[in-house]
């Protein structure tokens, strides 16, 4: 048991150590606002990519409007904070619930559609939400966006320092990604993957595909909304431009680059597509073109992505103890 304990706890402990010890110490050592921004942005996009991974990767529904729910979450958190003084600890789940409700409303009429028709419908919905954010000036402030003065506070204790904000974001993102991990690597995840492979067959096996689709869509939107709230709290200013079609495409590109159906892939893709353009910043503003080139070369040369689904599932089954030990080295089921 002792060696299996090391094996089981090693990878998760290393990840937690990286996010909560190593990165903050590096940040505190350099103490530059730019690095803090970059770290927070990477974490937020890692959560966004993971949330899209549930819908597009695991359930195979090509979703071109994830930025809409990201936007809804950000606006819910910002407007609740500005008008009603809702604190961080309530604002984040509230944003998630708001985005999930919006997703259920959207999902009910469109869930009947498959493949490309679903993609087009989500594209239209993303654009509609963007138009509402841009043009409903009375509620959203239109193109000027919303400015939030209240920072992140926990039970009256102000986490206004940059390190405090980083920890708030890191812990929220880690917990959210852990939940997504538990959903993906479980029998629920199996149902999603079955839905992706053949939805009619899944239906025939006794799984309510419509309920499953609406459910996963809402869960994914919930986490996108949480990411939106984090974005609103950390930048203090949101405008519709942050949630346009190109943001949806960026999130999709992250999932595709990392490998469809692979949770670590989505996170790796997010880190790559946020950090690579920043590293190339010296040459000029190459953010979008880097995204395009990375996406195209991965699709053509590594069709399974940087960390394919099979290796990702194997990794989680062996390293994260997501499966029961069978006889010998075999792993059985999910736990």
């Amino acid at each position: 048991m002792s060696d299996s304990l090391a094996k089981r706890a090693g990878a998760p402990a290393a990840l937690i150590g990286l996010v909560l010890v190593v990165v903050p110490s590096v940040l505190a050592y350099y103490d530059k606002g730019y690095f803090y921004q970059l770290a927070t942005l990477s974490l937020i996009y890692a959560l966004l990519a993971s949330s899209l991974h549930l819908v597009t990767g695991a359930a195979g529904l090509l979703h071109l409007g994830q930025a809409a729910f990201y936007g809804v979450g950000a606006y819910v958190a910002a407007l609740a904070g500005v008008h009603y003084g809702i604190p961080f600890i309530l604002g984040v789940p509230l944003a998630g619930i708001g985005a999930a409700l919006a997703a259920v409303l959207v999902a009910l009429p469109t869930m009947r559609l498959v493949s490309i028709y679903f993609a087009v419908a989500t594209l239209a919905i993303g654009e509609m939400v963007y138009l509402v954010l841009l043009n409903w000036v009375g509620l959203t402030g239109g193109p000027n966006g919303v400015v939030m003065f209240s920072g992140i506070d926990l039970f009256g204790y102000d986490l206004g320092t940059r390190l405090g904000a980083y920890f708030a974001v890191a812990i929220t993102v880690s917990v959210s990604i852990w939940v997504i991990h538990r959903l993906t690597h479980s029998y629920y995840g199996n149902a999603l993957r079955a839905l992706r492979e053949d939805d009619q067959c899944t239906d025939a096996m006794g799984i309510d595909t419509i309920r499953l689709k609406v459910g996963v869509f809402a869960i994914s939107a919930f986490f996108a909304g949480v990411a939106g709230a984090l974005w609103a709290y950390t930048t203090g200013y949101i405008s519709p431009e942050d949630f346009s079609f190109s943001a949806s495409i960026l999130i999709l590109a992250m999932v595709v680059v990392g490998g469809l159906g692979s949770l670590p892939g989505a996170i790796i893709g997010a880190l790559l597509l946020i950090l690579l353009p920043e590293a190339l910043r010296g040459i000029g503003n190459l953010r979008n073109i880097t995204v395009g080139i990375t996406m195209l070369s991965v699709i053509i040369f590594l069709p399974r992505g940087l960390m394919g689904e099979v290796s990702a599932l194997h990794f989680f089954r062996s390293r994260f103890a997501s499966a029961w030990p069978g006889s010998g080295t075999r792993k059985v089921g999910w736990r």
Binding site: Y117, A124, E127, L131, A253, N288, I289
Partner: protein, 304 residues
């Protein structure tokens, strides 16, 4: 008697619809053959506009010559696009991978990636703002027709759209190339077994569709005097909506729904602020997908 105001709005809407139709024709042609959405069509449109603009500023040739060069560049761009974003995914030609959804969606994403690269390359080269278009080439001289006013560009675009539609119908129904295009769009494997060079047919289709997209780009660019790297995005989404509403494979259907879309948008500005007019297209799209999954003019096809 109809109020001249509404008549004028109707004419504006029809000309708007025609610009969508110009793009929708090429879009639908490519979708019909490959059954995949070509997201890079909007960039072909932009490339057409920029080629025309470069030509005009460098040599100032007559408009007709510009259009012909743009057609050639469009065909070339379509060829390149097919090689880059679509060909790699036809490595496997067995029945299963032709039907596989993952296959179709990977071409969707590769064309999306190509579209991002082209748009950003144009932005890096020319900047994202409107380009200066020589005034002599703008096709917006007004013409009065009774109570309404149209511009010269309306007539040019109408003629070009009619020529494209007529020419395409002729090509598809009366020539061997058209026959092979229809055969491939009907059944890829069957066409192959019957001895049709499907690879060449697909390239032909891309060249044809992209020629039309590029011509649309320069005409609409000169019509509005607005040529910029992101110009393709919005009209392409509208053209896409028109294609879906028209039933995806029906080219005349796409043209008719493009006109309906244009008129609805211009009429909508009478009742609501013009910033909301884009909402019309998206609501139409959702309503069509939910209530008429076959499109308004489509025939029966696999489930959506």
């Amino acid at each position: 008697m109809i109020d001249p105001y509404y008549l004028q709005q109707l004419v504006i809407g029809l000309s708007l619809g025609l610009t969508y139709a110009l793009i929708a024709i090429g879009f639908t042609l490519i979708f019909g053959v490959l059954n995949v959405v070509n997201f890079a069509h909007s960039e072909i449109y932009t490339i057409g506009a920029f080629t025309g603009l470069l030509l005009i500023t460098a040599f100032a040739p007559p408009l007709l010559a510009v259009v012909f060069v743009v057609l050639a560049v469009g065909a070339l761009a379509g060829f390149g696009l097919e090689r880059l974003a679509f060909k790699p995914f036809r490595r496997f030609s067995d029945e299963a991978s032709l039907k596989s959804r993952a296959m179709r969606e990977s071409t969707l994403m590769s064309s999306l990636a190509v579209s991002i690269i082209v748009r950003e390359a144009l932005t890096l080269a020319f900047g994202s703002q409107f380009q200066q278009v020589p005034l002599a080439y703008l096709i917006n001289q007004p013409i009065r027709l009774g109570p309404v006013t149209i511009v010269r560009g309306d007539i040019i675009i109408l003629v070009v759209a009619a020529l494209m539609l007529g020419g395409l119908q002729y090509l598809l129904t009366r020539t061997r190339i058209g026959l092979s295009i229809r055969a491939v769009s009907d059944n890829h494997m069957g066409a192959k077994y019957a001895g049709i060079n499907t690879d060449r047919t697909i390239i032909m289709t891309f060249a044809l569709g992209s020629m039309m997209g590029a011509a649309a780009g320069i005409l609409v660019g000169l019509y509005y005097g607005a040529i910029f790297p992101a110009m393709g995005f919005e009209p392409s989404i509208k053209a896409f909506v028109a294609m879906v509403m028209g039933g995806l494979v029906s080219i005349p259907g796409a043209v008719i729904t493009a006109l309906i879309l244009g008129v609805s948008e211009s009429m909508a500005t009478t009742f609501v602020s013009s910033v909301w007019s884009d909402m019309v297209a998206y609501s139409f799209l959702i309503l069509t997908l939910v209530f008429f999954p076959q499109g308004l003019f489509g025939k029966g096809r696999e489930r959506v």
